[in-house]
């Protein structure tokens, strides 16, 4: 694909690799991009295992960012970060969870298709963010740009790697990955979600509550996506703006599938795709190909993946005929 533009594709890939893993700094940027991917994808693993097709991490992420920013922008700078940061975390989790519980409830009670409702809620979240950024929350000194005021120091997640943008969020992400692995494999809740995902009729038969488990799983999934939004505004950009990269919500879907819905694998795949994100800007600078190429690479990966799945399913069906 890259060769179409008359540029040596190998050189471009090399630039991408260097961009992702070439130096300490570029590697740190890979981690920064991987952090929200790890978080969101880990939450998606839980609900995808239940065959609940939550496409709404995008909106849940935005809501998390908005809810936490409310406190960052309104609480006095003199309050201890030990209080403010946990409050922001909780707020973001609640914001993401609410945005996830709406489609869950609509599906469970009115049988509204969750793909459609979550997509719709993504747009609504984006419009709420737009409204805030062009309206009440805009920084009066931003010369019309859709940005909020800078967060005060007490609302910023600490950076944990000097001279880079790697922040505490990556630690949360790693903890949550292992926690999720444990939840799915060892707890009663995890067992029930597995039964529901694999055979909801059998779940009903065994008296497993589909309502309670789906609501809980979506609250967790959306909550984590919300937390990712908070980590991004509070850890990376230190303000709320229109461009907070909500597309992580879609990329994370690819991550979850590439990781075969295994939380531990999510960790590795996120670093890979985080590398492509971070490296993308590198190729752009070095080779003068557009940043959009990152999207192209990602979607080719997803396409290859889906293609593989389709062929697998198709062959099975074909043999069963007659």
């Amino acid at each position: 694909m890259i060769s179409f533009k008359g540029i040596n594709p190998l050189a471009a890939y090399k630039a991408l690799l260097i961009g992702a893993f070439g130096s300490t700094y570029t590697f740190s940027e890979t981690i920064v991009a991987a952090t929200p991917l790890i978080l969101i994808a880990t939450g998606l693993v839980l609900v995808f295992n239940m065959k609940f097709w939550n496409i709404g991490a995008y909106g849940q992420y935005i809501m998390g960012a908005i809810f936490s920013s409310y406190f960052a922008l309104n609480v006095s700078p003199s309050v201890s970060p030990w209080i403010l940061l946990p409050v922001m975390c909780v707020a973001s989790i609640i914001g993401g969870a609410i945005w996830a519980l709406i489609p869950a409830f609509m599906k469970l009670v009115w049988e509204v298709n969750e793909v459609i409702s979550t997509l719709l809620l993504n747009y609504i979240a984006l419009y709420i963010l737009k409204y805030l950024m062009y309206g009440p929350w805009r920084n009066p000194t931003s010369h019309g740009f859709p940005l909020s005021k800078m967060f005060a120091a007490n609302a910023q997640l600490p950076r944990i790697w000097p001279h880079t943008r790697v922040h505490l969020g990556i630690v949360f992400a790693i903890i949550i990955v292992f926690l999720m692995y444990f939840i799915i494999k060892k707890t009663r809740f995890g067992y029930e979600t597995r039964v529901i995902g694999e055979n909801s009729t059998a779940a009903r038969y065994a008296g497993i509550s589909i309502f309670r488990n789906t609501m809980l799983a979506m609250a967790i999934s959306g909550g984590i996506a919300g937390l990712a939004g908070m980590a991004q505004v509070s850890g990376v950009i230190h303000l709320l703006q229109l461009e907070i990269n909500p597309n992580y919500g879609y990329t994370a879907i690819i991550v979850a599938w590439l990781a075969s819905l295994n939380p531990i694998a999510v960790l590795l795949v996120s670093i890979l795709l985080g590398g492509i994100e971070a490296g993308g800007s590198q190729i752009q600078m070095m080779m003068h190909v557009p940043y959009g190429i990152v999207g192209v690479i990602e979607s080719s990966i997803l396409f290859a993946l889906l293609g593989g799945e389709i062929f697998k399913t198709f062959r099975v069906k074909f043999r069963r005929r007659g």
Partner: protein, 514 residues
Amino acid sequence: MDDIVVSLKNITKRFPGIVANDRVNFELRRGEVHTLLGENGAGKSTLMNILDGIYQPDEGEIYINGKLVEIKNPSDAMRLGIGMIHQHFMLVETLTVLENVILGLAEQGLYINKKEISKRIEEVSDRYNLCINPSTKIWQLSVGEQQRVEIIKTLFRGAQILILDEPTAVLTPQEVEVSFEIYKQMIEEGKSIIFISHKLNEVMDISDRITVLRKGKYIGTVDTDKITEKELATMMVGREVLFRLERKPHERKDKVLQVSNLKALDDKGLLALNGLNLEVFSGEIYGLAGVAGNGQKILSEAIAGLRKVIDGKITIAGKDLTNASASEIFAHGVSYIPPDRLKMGLVPNLSSVDNAILRRYYKPPIYNRHLINYSEAERYAKKLIEEYDIMVPREDAPVKLLSGGNMQKLLLAREISEQPKLLIAVHPTRGLDVGATEFVRRELLKQRDNGVAVLLISEDLDEIFMISDRIGVIYEGQILDTFDIKEAKIEKVGLLMAGMKSEREFSEQVCSTV
């Protein structure tokens, strides 16, 4: 010398991982009914699909009227005068009989004149006593009638050799008799019939000769009048089969299940149970006979708490549990073997361990402070596997890899181990081989001897008569009558299954849809 119309020589057909037909020989004479007998999975349908051109053999030769032929597809088969009626019908439900017949002809590219064909359908229907009206829509017909439409379709395409794949599996005893009359009529007109079944009494009744397959292998061909049912069973299964299961006299004690005036809707919102009354006592097997679709599935779901009822009452061991939740009903001692093990009873993609604990993952010692103790779970699964002699590749392999018999054993083992007061078993032996069938029936009897109330719902009348203490007949959502096993007559039960109180009513009913 007899006229040999079909001769299959050394047919071998392999599917991935299995040899469905292994050097099978088969021969059909003009004007005979030749039965292909074998257990589920013996390779009967495969062999006939080869003759019908749906599958190609890997090895072997096909001769039709003495000529070596290659049958590439069903149209080829039709040209050679071969027509097959499949286990699953291939009719378009929303079209009329006439339109379906025309569709069948159109596939062959024949000239079509609607009026003429309609007249000819009536002629054929009269000649064979099929009682089919060309302008009826398929969905309005009973299963037996649909089968007759398939026969008409096949006759219209000029079939001289008819293959009937387990036609009687879906019929009541009386409908079976009607079908047999039709077959005899066709034979008289010089047609030849290949009849597939694994029901010995029918086979003895209708066939001139019998060819037995077992696990894909050709076992032999015999003349029906030179063999006994018992010998046939031994050929089919490969060992002696007990026709009667030993049964202690039954001691019926407390009333465990009482269902009164129950009304419930099916998935389409139609009234499926219409004021049904039923009692089952501890220490008895109550066999519920009926043609599929008369409410038995709905009844089992209502009792198990999986379907809301709109009226009536369900009492279990004296406690009113009408419209209680599935887990509440289970907690009151009701175990349930659902009709479709892969759809409801088991989770095919999960392991034997995960499936074994489905009823007790929330009880100690397997459950412990929000966590599941998987070493306990594994121990429990291993115990079931050993006690019930279940063949699993490994405990952590998904249960979909088990054979049907072993899946059913696992399900049964799990449900019985909960020591229920009431055990509901719906089609518990459907699709199982003879060995597993025998195992399941013995296990149900054992439960009964231990004082469990067993509600057995089955399409297999032989099974119901073999192990039940009382037999009830369900028809259109009501129980028409209940008999003690000592007084129950299979003919009477068969009539009731068709909703009729007497023979006379039956013979009138056959043509009543016209």
